[in-house]
């Protein structure tokens, strides 16, 4: 019984960690849907956003104000990206755009370090990484408060964004642009506004993910690489599918924890880092379009 409880604990911790991967993958999916390009700068955005947030806190801004100011800053980053990078390249090939996002990533990493320095910062969200007594008493499970908070925040954000896309005018515009930017433009949907929306949303997602990760391991450059965990998530879930990003994140989160705990010891531990990529390679071999990879629907 305790064996089983322990297994559940591992899976729950994995799923909660996985919501963060879902969130970051969602940022990729948004930009991929709107501009058919893989945004290599997403990891840098996570780093930039949370470092900025910590920087604003250090200036003495209250938590909430710093949060809002950082979101505005990410909106500005989105705006500048749209104006200075995407718009001039609007009609270039997708490869060109891809290179541009790699460049953007370096710029953001450089800017962040220039503005706020290179040392690892501590971020205290006031939520400890210790088990919640109430859950221990009720279910006999050890679940970290920080993990649980991160999971809930991610779930809340994902649901919020999904509702936004489903029911608002801008959301409809975004889905139209994702399907056919040319046709969207022909009926007067302003592509630049939609891009701004998408990049700001991706910025918010980056900030939240950065805060949750930063609270656990410190705000540091390694966050950029952590964000790249979204890549296996996307391979599993499909690059253009929001449900795919969510489920892919949960699968990666749960499986890497389970593998780490049960198989890790045989490999000398620390397989968390590469297990997701192995999983992704299996998907590439046997189901390259991903779980939710969309079949192209077109009829003439």
């Amino acid at each position: 019984m305790t064996e089983f409880l322990f297994f559940i604990e591992v899976v729950v911790a994995g799923l909660l960690a996985g919501t963060m991967y879902s969130l970051v993958a969602l940022g990729f999916v948004l930009i991929y849907k709107a501009s058919s390009t893989f945004n290599f700068a997403q990891g840098a955005m996570v780093f930039f956003a949370v470092l900025a947030f910590v920087g604003f806190m250090e200036l003495g801004l209250p938590f909430f104000v710093a949060f809002i100011v950082t979101i505005l800053l990410m909106g500005l980053v989105g705006y500048c990206t749209e104006r200075m990078v995407l718009k001039p390249l609007m009609n270039q090939s997708e490869d060109t755009l891809l290179m541009a996002t790699i460049g953007l990533g370096f710029v953001l990493e450089g800017l962040a370090q220039a503005a706020w320095g290179v040392e690892v910062r501590r971020l205290d969200l006031g939520i400890g990484d210790f088990p919640i007594q109430w859950i221990i008493d009720t279910f006999g499970l050890f679940v970290s408060a920080l993990d649980l908070t991160a999971g809930l925040v991610a779930a809340f954000l994902i649901i919020g964004l999904s509702l936004l896309f489903k029911y608002t005018k801008m959301g409809l515009g975004l889905r139209a642009v994702a399907d056919d930017p040319g046709a969207a433009s022909s009926i007067g949907i302003p592509l630049n506004n939609i891009m701004l929306l998408v990049w700001t949303a991706a910025g918010v997602v980056a900030l939240v993910a950065g805060m949750m990760w930063g609270a656990r391991a410190g705000v540091q450059f390694a966050l950029v690489d952590l964000a790249l965990k979204a890549l296996p998530v996307l391979i599993i879930g499909g690059f253009s599918s929001i449900p795919g990003a969510i489920i892919g994140g949960l699968i990666i989160g749960a499986s890497e924890k389970v593998l780490e705990v049960y198989i890790g010891p045989y490999f000398g531990g620390a397989i968390e880092g590469w297990a997701p990529y192995v999983l992704a390679i299996f998907f590439l071999l046997y189901r390259p379009e991903g779980l939710f990879g969309e079949k192209i629907i077109r009829r003439v």
């Binding site: 009609n91 409809l172 433009s185 022909s186 007067g188």
Partner: protein, 282 residues
């Protein structure tokens, strides 16, 4: 924006435009045409003649394909078209229905129609009324309103593309090959609706077509272009009645199909644009 005479009889006037893609590929050499307010004008010609390019020059969609109007002038409803973007053009009441329908495949039929009103600020009840009005023209779409657009038939998608454009409340519609790939019966149905929209909603229409016969039967005027030049123009009746048009575009001939240029060259006036009527001559 330069404002010129706003109440002129022509809602659209194109004067001697030249269009280049990528600054080197010349697609239009010298195209002039006008669309009188409230009329339907057909722009006819084979594949690669320059029909789509002409429409995109008007709607400013050219820029997104690295195309540019390098000579001449386009005046729409009193505004000279220069650096506007498609969003601005839609705001001015000019909407293009692109070649190949281009519906949003993952959106439902009704969501597709609603996207057409993106440029307008409508309350929920106004939106409802607009939808009802659109459905009164496009009955078929009402039955399919909840279907994913990507899974509807070609005819339904063409109707959807026109319905979507009409939601922007255009003064002028540019239709690019609405008959493409559709069975004759459907083509007839679509042209009937287009004609209805023209008379009841008063929308002026410029339509590009390869299907010369059906296009001219539903238009007031026609222009025939080939390799980026206007070869012939006139009222629809005149063109339908013209021997060269009959022979080359309507397939009413004993000889094989010839190139339009050859016929004109045989007559020794290949440089001249032939105008069949005094009325459309500007």
């Amino acid at each position: 924006m330069n404002k010129v005479n706003n109440n002129s009889e022509d809602i659209l006037k194109i004067e001697n435009i030249e269009v280049m893609y990528d600054s080197v590929i010349s697609a239009l050499h010298d195209v002039s045409l006008s669309v009188p307010r409230g009329k339907i004008v057909a722009l006819l010609g084979g594949n690669g003649a320059g029909k789509s390019t002409t429409l995109k020059a008007i709607s400013t969609m050219l820029a997104s394909e690295r195309g540019k109007v390098t000579k001449g002038k386009i005046t729409y409803d009193g505004t000279i078209i220069s650096n506007q973007n498609p969003t601005e053009m839609v705001g001015l009441g000019m909407v293009q229905v692109l070649e190949g329908r281009r519906c949003f495949g993952h959106l439902t039929v009704e969501e597709n129609i609603i996207t057409g009103a993106y440029s307008r600020k409508l309350t929920n009840s106004e939106m409802k009324n607009e939808l009802e009005k659109i459905y009164s023209y496009f009955n078929r779409l009402k039955d399919r309103r909840k279907s994913q657009a990507g899974f509807t038939s070609g005819g339904e998608q063409q109707m959807l593309a026109v319905a979507r454009a009409m939601m922007a409340k255009p003064k002028m519609l540019l239709l690019d090959e609405p008959s493409m790939g559709l069975a004759p019966q459907l083509v007839a149905e679509i042209f009937k609706i287009v004609k209805e929209l023209n008379t009841k909603e008063g929308v002026s229409i410029l339509l590009a077509e390869q299907n010369t016969n059906i296009a001219l039967r539903n238009s007031d005027y026609g222009y025939i272009i080939e390799t980026g030049n206007v070869m012939l123009k006139g009222t629809a009746e005149e063109l339908l009645d013209n021997d060269e048009v009959k022979e080359l575009y309507l397939g009413i001939s004993k000889e094989g199909r010839k190139n339009f240029r050859d016929v004109l060259r045989e007559e020794g006036n290949s440089k001249e644009i032939k105008s069949l009527s005094k009325t459309t001559n500007s």
